[in-house]
């Protein structure tokens, strides 16, 4: 018998009588979700900018290499579509990426894989991250978030909440473990 069938067989023999699924939860709502989003984002080491253009940010102005996936915001010294190998993205200073919506309770932004094309690595390999999210697209909690995600076959999607971080050395929090050293969310 294949391992697969052996495993499935022994699971069927061992399992307890079937129990039902619990009723769905609705989750906390916030009087001002945008404010909650901002507070949580700051708490996880990110920063919020209300309105405006990514190009107005210092982090953009000071960067040598910028890869933008947001229409209307120009890249600088990087042509994502001319790059064949994602390893060449090492050295990109700033990535500007559109997020679909934000989540107030945890400061996370949903980024569907499609917007990262042609190279998924861009969101994690860049030194700094700017996420551009529509201002009216902040949901209260993760239950609402998962209700609105539409799953495509063979796809990728990610919640990003603040910059990359670690506390593995004596519990001291350090930003920029492997991914972005800073994470700015622009709501507009």
């Amino acid at each position: 018998m294949s391992s697969r069938n052996a495993i499935l067989d022994s699971l069927r023999r061992s399992a307890a009588p079937a129990t039902g699924r619990p009723a769905p939860l609705s989750g906390t709502r916030y009087a001002d979700p945008v404010k909650q989003f901002e507070e949580t984002l700051i708490a996880v080491g990110g920063r919020l900018v209300r309105g405006g253009d990514p190009a107005d940010l210092d982090i953009y102005a000071n960067a040598a290499k910028v890869a933008s996936l947001v229409p209307g915001v120009p890249s600088r010294s990087v042509d994502l579509h001319a790059i064949q190998d994602p390893h060449e993205l090492d050295g990109v200073d700033v990535a500007i990426i559109p997020g679909e919506f934000g989540v107030a309770e945890n400061g996370a932004v949903w980024v569907p894989g499609e917007v990262l094309a042609p190279h998924r690595a861009i969101f994690v390999i860049a030194q700094h991250l700017i996420l551009v999210v529509p201002a009216d697209q902040i949901v209260d909690n993760l239950h609402q978030a998962y209700e609105r995600i539409r799953w495509q076959p063979n796809s990728f999607g990610i919640f990003i909440s603040g910059p990359s971080k670690t506390a593995d050395i004596e519990q001291s929090l350090v930003m920029g473990a492997h991914g972005a050293r800073s994470c700015t969310v622009i709501l507009r």
Binding site: I158, S161, G179
Partner: protein, 454 residues
């Protein structure tokens, strides 16, 4: 064979370090409390998480088949492994068929459980653990001492010294920021050279046929978006039925584990990188056997958040290595003797049964009840040392005979105060190693009560 108590004694011999370890973990526990208190429906969430796990485990075979169907439709190769040996062979075979000899790994307790790293290294694969804490212990040739905080037992000076030798950082430098920066550079070069990335799986979703991986560092994302080959290894209990269930578990996981509202990166892999290849290895390795045991079944619901370790008064003061198993703390003390009752017989006793683990567990596993139940199993199957069994048998005999109990009480009150210390605290009295008997009262409670009420 040394059990938990002996290894814990070695750890606790350094009193100030033990105190520091205790405080570091308590700090994480306090952060967890703050997060839990910020969610009014926290208890309802735990209830829901527990119910979803119970439901899933009751139909695990069906859901695994559904997962396999949907994952295959996503272009993912699904493999099944009955045990560690089969798991390791599958991973090696995938790497070998791609001529991949440089592998970057993000955190996976399962691969630690299967001892994958030494297996691959013996076959010429360079394995780099990329979670900072895991890289630290890998460079020290040690296992992790905690499932979420692998290097929690080390001081920054220890790590500074290690990095000075291994990565060429300045001698004596111990600033966490500086050391993290050095590791970032070192590991980025590993990511750039890697031919394959291996990740664990926090959740696999039957409905979507994809897996979800949570990290704060972004190491799983680096390792799966640069090399074209992604291997994800999962214990089969990682499965949940639907994507909406993720909301329940993700709201609980990081809040319980590290006191964060969510991990920085929550990546949903529903297929390979364009032009790449993705494999999922589903592993049993004793899990179906645990599923068949009513008392211990719910331990399969564990989402490996680490909260039961952070809160455990024994773990905090004895360190992860005192458990001698890859998963330490309360949950490890249930899982380890499942793997090998003889080798890990002391672990269910490494608990005060205070129940703090049960109180914080986000999936409501009755951890301290299971520890107690396991003690009974180990005594019944004679795995517990004879001395302990005899003592318990005598206790049981006396306690179940009221007359005998009363007589022994008066006898001990009369005799013990007059006995020489060497006899009372002889080597047979392990209880007395660090404890003093209370002064014997003149009368028993029963005598006092009789006097009062007459």
């Amino acid at each position: 064979m040394t059990g938990h108590a002996e290894k814990a004694a070695a750890f606790a011999a350094d009193e100030s370090r033990t105190h520091w370890h205790d405080e570091s973990l308590w700090f994480v526990r306090v952060k967890r409390d703050r997060q839990a208190a910020s969610i009014p429906e926290w208890e309802a969430l735990r209830e829901a998480a527990s119910a979803i796990k119970t439901h899933t485990l009751s139909r695990l075979a069906d859901y695994l088949e559904e997962f396999e169907r949907n994952a295959t439709a996503n272009g993912i190769h699904v493999h099944w492994a009955r045990d560690a040996a089969e798991h390791n062979a599958i991973v090696h075979q995938i790497l070998a068929s791609h001529n991949a000899t440089r592998l970057v790994k993000s955190k996976s307790m399962l691969t630690e459980e299967c001892h994958l790293n030494p297996y691959l290294e013996a076959r010429g694969v360079e394995v780099t653990d990329t979670d900072l804490g895991e890289r630290i212990v890998q460079l020290r040739k040690e296992p992790p001492s905690h499932i979420v905080l692998p290097a929690i037992h080390l001081k920054k000076e220890d790590i500074g010294e290690l990095f000075h030798i291994e990565l060429g950082t300045e001698k004596g430098a111990s600033d966490p920021k500086y050391l993290t920066e050095a590791a970032r550079g070192h590991l980025r070069s590993k990511f750039m050279e890697a031919q394959a990335g291996l990740t664990g799986v926090n959740f696999a979703v039957a409905e979507t046929g994809g897996v979800v991986v949570c990290t704060n560092e972004g190491n799983a994302d680096m390792g799966t978006s640069l090399p074209p080959l992604h291997i994800a290894c999962m214990g089969m209990e990682k499965l949940i039925p639907r994507a909406e269930d993720l909301a329940v578990f993700l709201r609980l996981l990081a809040r319980s584990g590290t006191g964060q509202p969510v991990t920085t990166y929550t990546s949903h892999f529903n297929g390979p990188l364009p032009g790449g290849e993705m494999h999922v290895v589903i592993v049993d390795y004793g899990r179906s056997r645990i599923l068949g045991q009513q008392t211990f079944r719910s331990s399969l619901g564990c989402i490996r958040c680490g909260a039961c370790m952070n809160t455990c008064p024994v773990y905090r003061r004895s360190g992860g290595y005192s458990y001698g198993y890859i998963v330490p703390g309360p949950i490890g003390s249930i899982l380890a003797p499942q793997r090998d009752p003889r080798m890990h017989a002391s672990l269910p006793f490494a608990s005060s049964l205070c129940g703090s683990c049960t109180d914080v567990c986000p999936v409501k596993i009755d951890l301290h009840q299971q520890l107690l139940a396991f003690r009974k199993e180990l005594v019944d199957s004679k795995v517990v040392p004879l001395q302990k069994r005899l003592a318990m048998a005598v206790m049981g005999f006396v306690l179940s005979r009221p007359l005998l109990y009363r007589m022994s009480g008066s006898l001990l009150r009369a005799l013990v105060p007059g006995l020489p210390r060497g006899l009372v605290y002889g080597t047979w009295n392990r209880w007395g190693i660090q404890r003093e008997l209370p002064t014997m009262p003149k009368e028993s409670f029963r005598d006092l009560l009789r006097k009062e009420s007459s």
